[in-house]
Amino acid sequence: MNRSPHTPSRKRIDWITPLFQLAALLLALLFTTLMLLAVGAPPLQAYLNILKGAFSNVNSVANMLVVWAPLLLTTVGVLITFSAGLWNIGVEGQVTLGAIFTTWVLRLLQESALPPWLIILLAMLAGMLGGAVWAALAGALKTFGGVNEIFGGLGLNFVATALTLWLIFGPWKRPGTGSMSGTLPFPETLWLPTLSGLRLSPWSLALALLALAAVYLLLRGTRFGLRLKAVGKNMRAAYLLGIPTWQHMMASFLLCGLLAGLAGALQVTAVYHRLIPSISSGYGFLGLLVAMLVNYQAIWAAPVALFFAALNIGSIQLPIVLRLDSSLAGVLQGLLVLFVLLVEGARQQIMKRLRPPDESVPVEERT
């Protein structure tokens, strides 16, 4: 029932597309401004506040990158599933399971005699495994059970949340009574090392960039990536051409799960140092938005994810300074993606009308 997210690219009139995208950005800003005026808030001050919140000092820039790393991981993860034509909404739960598995291994090994770096490494590998297991469940439901990945994934997201809460309030609860503030923090030796005085770990950045490069190459330069796209564009045709379709879909789920799990592992080892109820921070869903905004192309994932991270960090101060809810960042992000979708649709329809009927064959096929 879900269509492939790909939109046919028409190479011929390439200078028009950026103009339309600029229009989308302006429309999103216009709408947000009107909304701010409607609730009696000063728009300019709100925007300046977001900018200041994100870029005012080294600390805030570092915090922005703390958000950026896991967001980039989930974004490039869902780029793989998008390539196979799959809507992996379950990515949120996959991040959560990554965090749970990481916490689990850290708890098991924290008393052991193993060197801390090895414990952290094992814990992060476990996190990747956790994400992959959860993705495999969604994949199995899809390929063997006929359950649409959107609904299977959503259900698994809820189960992941329930699992987190159960662990925090049950077996892993703090001494005394469990609380929403999460499990007991791990000793500092088990933290992923950070830059001095900052919350940012260079390891997170390195891993995220590595993942970005890997996914970019995978989708662009490998046979597997090409076949994955073939499955995503037209499953039936791919199957008839001899591409093992369900295996490719499953593989894309697993790869995405590994990356989402790694994002969860970073949330535990580099950011919170414990398991908290909302450990995924919504980065799974946000990653889906970024992937849609970059039109499913890995190359743009880094700057756009950075922009989203800046909005998230920049809006934290809004409630204190301007008494506005920090969900303004989400509103801006949502409006931006919505208008990009609408404007892209409008562009396609306009192009179709402009082109004479006999030229309705896609450009690539004619040349």
């Binding site: 029932m1 879900n2 269509r3 997210p5 939109t7 909304m35 609730v39 809507w87 909404i89 439901l141 063997f144 059970g145 006929g146 359950v147 649409n148 959107i150 609904f151 299977g152 959503l154 259900g155 698994l156 997201n157 809820f158 189960v159 949340t161 329930a162 809460l165 159960w166 309030f169 049950g170 469990g178 869903f285 889906l288 938005l289 849609m292 506005l324 809810d325 969900s327 303004l328 960042a329 989400g330 509103v331 992000q333 949502g334 409006l335 993606v337 919505l338 979708l341 609408l342 892209e344 649709g345 409008a346 396609q348 329809q349």
Partner: protein
Amino acid sequence: MTQEQILLGLASVLAAAAPVLFAVIGETISERAGVINLSMNGTILLTAMGGFAVALRTNSLLLGFLTGMLIGALVALIVAFSSITLKQSQVAVGFVLALLCRDLAYFLGNPYMNVPGPRLTVIPVPWLASLPYVGTLFFNHTVITYLSFVMIFLAWAWIFKTRPGLMLQGIGERPAAAFVRGANVNRMRYLYTVLGGALIGLAGPAYSLSVKAGWAGTISGLDGIGWIALSITIFGGWNPLRAAFGSYLFAFLQWLGLVLQARLPNIPSQVLQVAPFPLMILTLLLVNIGDAEWVARTLATLPEGVRRLLIRLLRVLRSSPPAALGVPFESE
């Protein structure tokens, strides 16, 4: 637990299911016409907040509910426009709207957080309410709960017992055939998507003005309801009667969670509140698995008696989506 408590508990289940019912029936109608409205989770939050804010300001509950319907219809209109006119992915635009409307609700609802406001009162149906058992269960509710009862049968009768309903099935199953018979497929799809959206828009105010009165922002406990309603739509096999069963089952399980929580203090309450979700996945699996190829292959190897039984069981459970769900229609 006394008999009286159980009876009141079951009555509260019927009331708690009302918002879910509106959402599920609205989505069922929209999907019957071939359009998935994935924005539901955000729509419910935004209409809950908007309906409450308007009811509070105007002191009119009716205006609150109408606002909800209007917002729901507008969001559905965006889905319809982008998918029918602009031929974009319904899933993509619906998902964005789900997140956008949620954040809009939190942003715009900030001034209304935890403000006491109006709420529907229980209106017992004269005479009927004093009947034993039945009176407590069915005839001692708010207007919106009564409306939810009526809506189940209205939607069912419309889809399966009227000529326009037959056409509605047609534009979701075989739009080309419906077109040949003179249906303006895309206009009808617009109409039913917006109508379905308006019904979904009743769900929010049904919470904020009745079931969970007020607006509490992120801790309203409404985030997620829309995703559940989506699963129930599938569980319901795009049939309002089965959808109603699913909605009541869900509300019952949540109530059971609360009851058990008092008896089992060791299990954290958050766990019991999400207990229905694994069950939902399981039912989705049962509903869909009959279509899987390997199931047919495995069944073929089983002895005759067992196979017959299993096939019959799977057929009862099974439900297939409208054939043209999510597929754009072009008349040329």
